[in-house]
């Protein structure tokens, strides 16, 4: 596993609770439903398929959840919150808007690369599952959009971008993630990082800043790839 991928697993998993056996059963089923839905699709996933991933018995499952739909909704709430906190933390601990957005997007990509099935459940299958998970998804998008919208602090009121810019940028990044996941090739996301930074910076600051963000991200990505290649050798 790539170092970036294992770092992402640690970031997200360390936020999870692990306690007694009942809690472990519940956590296992919640991870199992997301993995199963990510691999098989929401419609095709059965309680049996969830248990094949998580272990345990049907009786245990139904002590915690009413149905597959209920399990998905509860699992979704927990995992999207973990991911959201992790991504926001990456942005908040990096100085500067552009670098913060880049770090946050990289953290998201690390998670997608490390847990593609769960990522597929969080970003693609939620559209199939519908409510109440979809409402959690919308809430997460709004939180991330509000964080990205901090760019406004650097823009004069007269040149302020449209109100929907934050949602638009998050939607663009998410559509890129969905494309890669649907194609079964999350690794290609890294190639799209400079383009996404161009898109994000351009939406707030215009063409020149967009081109600058693209250049800087391309250089950083190249440097990181060289470093990782060197470390492997």
């Amino acid at each position: 596993m790539a170092p970036e991928a294992s770092a992402a697993i640690n970031q997200v998993d360390s936020l999870g609770a692990n306690g007694g056996s009942e809690l472990a059963v519940r956590e296992g089923a919640m991870e199992g439903v997301l993995v199963a839905c990510g691999e098989l699709g929401f419609r095709e996933t059965s309680v049996r398929a969830i248990l094949e991933h998580s272990g345990g018995h049907r009786a245990q499952f139904y002590q915690h959840f009413e149905s597959k739909e209920d399990c998905f909704a509860q699992a979704y709430a927990v995992w999207i919150e973990r991911l959201c906190v992790s991504v926001l933390e990456a942005a908040a601990t990096t100085p500067g808007w552009e670098a913060g957005v880049r770090e946050a997007t990289a953290r998201l990509f690390q998670f997608v690369a490390a847990r593609p099935a769960i990522a597929r459940a969080l970003f693609v299958e939620v559209q199939i599952a519908g409510e109440p998970a979809l409402a959690r998804h919308e809430a997460a998008v709004e939180r991330l959009a509000a964080a990205i919208d901090s760019a406004r602090a650097e823009i004069d009121d007269a040149e302020a971008p449209p109100e929907a810019t934050g949602i638009f940028v998050v939607g663009g990044i998410e559509s890129c993630v969905c494309e890669a996941l649907s194609a079964g090739d999350p690794g290609r996301l890294w190639d799209a990082l400079p383009e996404l930074m161009h898109f994000a910076a351009g939406s707030y600051f215009g063409k020149e800043e967009a081109e600058g963000a693209f250049e800087r991200t391309s250089i950083l990505l190249e440097r990181e790839r060289t470093r990782l290649t060197g470390a492997e050798e």
Partner: protein, 229 residues
Amino acid sequence: MTELRLIAGAALAEPAEVAEASPLRLPPGRHGIPADLVRAHQRVRLLEAAAAALAEQGYGRLTAARVTELAGVSSRTFYQHFEDLWACLLAAYETEAGRLCQEIEGACAALVQERGPIAEADRRGRAHTGISAALGFLAAEPDVARLLSAEPPPQIAALSAARRDLVERLGAMLRGVLVDPDGATPLPGLERRLIGAALALVSTRAASGDPQRLRQLEPELGELLLASL
């Protein structure tokens, strides 16, 4: 749906008892309407019902039974038209995607015809005309807006491919206005990212259940899509 209204209109030109029937459903029994027209009408109703059922149930709970119920046809009729639920939804998606693109192209062509070379050179003006036409179309038919903007199940490969085709087509239209004939070309693939973001925004607004919110998006969406001009 325009096509449905046209066919319903043709049916209404038939005998007097047909004129009193619902414009969305042909009267049962003997009505003297040619079989091919009945069949075409059933198909249009099924396509419209597929979009309505999707808006109501979402991909997770969507069933062929609900589509036939909303279309007012029997299950047998459904399977005479389509192999399964996904074939019906794919036909609805492709039909509506085609209509959306025609709406945009038609509005832009009308602008150029009306204003001549000035409109041809006014890339921003053409873009706003196209965006306005698209949002007007989607706001008038909220079920279609949800059908076209929501991410389909990736397991239904043909439906995912149809969505990719729509993104490509809309992206090509957008690229047509982003490319400056006298300047640098925009970043390759940027238009796909912009269209993806626009569809996500449309999906959120369409899900709100208030079609007016889609129409109101026009100035903002125009500014966002053209930020790199």
